[in-house]
């Protein structure tokens, strides 16, 4: 007998799971359908197949520009967050020291602060010290919010690595940098990649903070928000939506599967 659920209970839960998946994916599917619909208004009945909206967005310099801006911001901020996150995660995962609890609390605290508060506090900081708002101010803010996520990915991975491996390296005469580069880094690489991807998607999608600290160059979410309020551009935006969602789904799912496979292989090698 299964202690957790009965047969009928299992069937019920499976049904619920199915319903929720429909609830989650139906709106996305509807966007997909209307991105090919030959009408400016997204409403039934469908009026015919078209690729106009896709063609239109490919030729919209403002939209393409905002995608570029977001890609730059996301790349810079996720590199920053991963570097800082890797630096911090090593002592947090592997060393004992006074003030560790306080340090990790501070590093994780942006997780529990509403973005509207983070956004205005950065706005006021830049205003008070007279820093003009540019894409770099957005990058700074995005590193703050991505850093905790990188720690949440990296620390558990580091904790899994046997300290003996490191000790063996020292005993063989390797210095700290060599040990990190030759032993630790290869072992945590899958986690580093996944921290990078999480930071990248977080930044690429972030609106609230960017809306306060962005300068003249609009990021993709800022452009989208503007376009959402200008519904005459709706079909074009829907087409972009479909492309962006598909790409991010593929990247995320692919990365997750890749990380699983890589970690399993590394484990096999290490043991």
């Amino acid at each position: 007998m299964d202690a957790a659920m009965s047969k009928s209970g299992r069937r019920l839960l499976r049904g619920l799971f199915g319903l929720v998946v429909v609830f989650l994916y139906a709106p996305i599917a509807i966007l997909l359908v209307f991105s090919f619909n030959n009408s400016e208004l997204p409403s039934f009945p469908l009026s015919g197949f078209t690729l106009t909206w896709y063609r239109q967005f490919v030729h919209d310099p403002e939209l393409i520009g905002s995608l570029e801006t977001s890609a730059i911001v996301a790349a810079l901020s996720s590199v920053g967050a991963v570097v800082l996150g890797t630096l911090a995660s090593i002592p947090l995962a592997r060393r004992r020291f006074t003030g560790k609890a306080a340090a990790s609390a501070l590093l994780l605290s942006p997780l529990v602060v509403p973005y509207v508060v983070l956004g205005i506090s950065l706005l006021l900081l830049f205003h008070a010290v007279g820093v003009p708002r540019t894409i770099m101010t957005v990058v700074i803010g995005h590193i703050v919010i991505s850093l905790p996520y990188t720690l949440l990915v990296l620390i558990p991975r580091l904790e899994q690595i046997d300290v003996a491996l490191e000790e063996a390296a020292y005993d063989l005469g390797a210095n700290r940098v060599q040990t990190f580069r030759l032993i630790i880094l290869p072992l945590i690489l899958p986690a580093v990649v996944s921290a990078f991807l999480i930071s990248f998607t977080t930044s690429f999608d972030e609106y609230a903070i960017a809306s306060f600290v962005a300068g003249t160059r609009a990021t993709f979410p800022l452009y989208l928000y503007g376009a959402l309020r200008f519904p005459n551009r709706l079909p074009e935006v829907i087409a972009v939506a479909v492309v962006v969602m598909t790409v991010s789904l593929i990247v995320v799912v692919g990365a997750e599967l890749g990380r699983r496979v890589a970690e399993r292989r590394l484990e096999a090698l290490a043991s």
């Binding site: 799971f17 020291f97 605290s109 008070a128």
Partner: protein, 292 residues
Amino acid sequence: MAGRRRRRLDLTTPGLLGLPLAWLVAFFLVPIGIVGAYSIDVFSIFPGKHPVTLAGWHDFVHSAVYLKLFWKSVRMSLIVSALVVLLAYPLAYYLALSGTKRKYILLLILIAPFLTSYLLRVLAWKVILGSNGVVNSLLYWLGLRSHDNPVSQLLYSRFAVMLVLVYVWLPFVALPIFVSLESLDQRLLEAAADLYASRWQAFRRVTLPLSVPGIIAAFLFVFIPTVGEFVTPSLVGGTSGYMYGNQISDLFGTGFPDWRTGSVLALFLLGVVAALTGVFARFLGMRQTAAR
């Protein structure tokens, strides 16, 4: 040997932690201090001399408007968080405990929408809920409703805001609950069964209490961002869906810039959220020590 290593590590720890901590001090703690400075006119958007004043705080405490709006946002956000946790719990339970081999794949299917664009998912609902949107046009088309009589309170309402927030956060919340259920020692359930506990009793006395930390984490992960939310209400909320976060963002954006009041509102929100997190963190810490 051990002594030598320790000395070396003592030097590396501050070296490694220094930069990340400095980053958060400079771009997280200091800015919050600066918000405090703006809230009492130590800094101001307008150049010139300003006497330090508590007027912003005084007005906030004495004007029923802001506190009422805050309470409204808290209520909306509580309902959303509760609904999301109630919906996500059975799903996580199913994935963690049904013994299905594909549980990670299914979990990924559940979470994947969260990793796509937030604004685009809101957009999807705008397309669905409008008077000429998918729901209504489907109703017209099927002849269930006439063009003159759309279901009109779908968009621009408190309902719309809460529906969209539930939709947006549901995938994310399944994760912490799943983790807490998965780490649960299944032998405990078997032991309960051996002691002739019914499944329901086993759930109530074993599984549920052990998954409380996951539930609380999940709850907070929804409550904190939604109580300060301003993007979703500004797109689908209309007049009745206006939230506390909208007021903060409006005080900095539209109207006449009133950064002092805006700073007061932001700090109050931060204070409440921090207190809440602190209480739960302590509660969880106590449970952990008690469990040991």
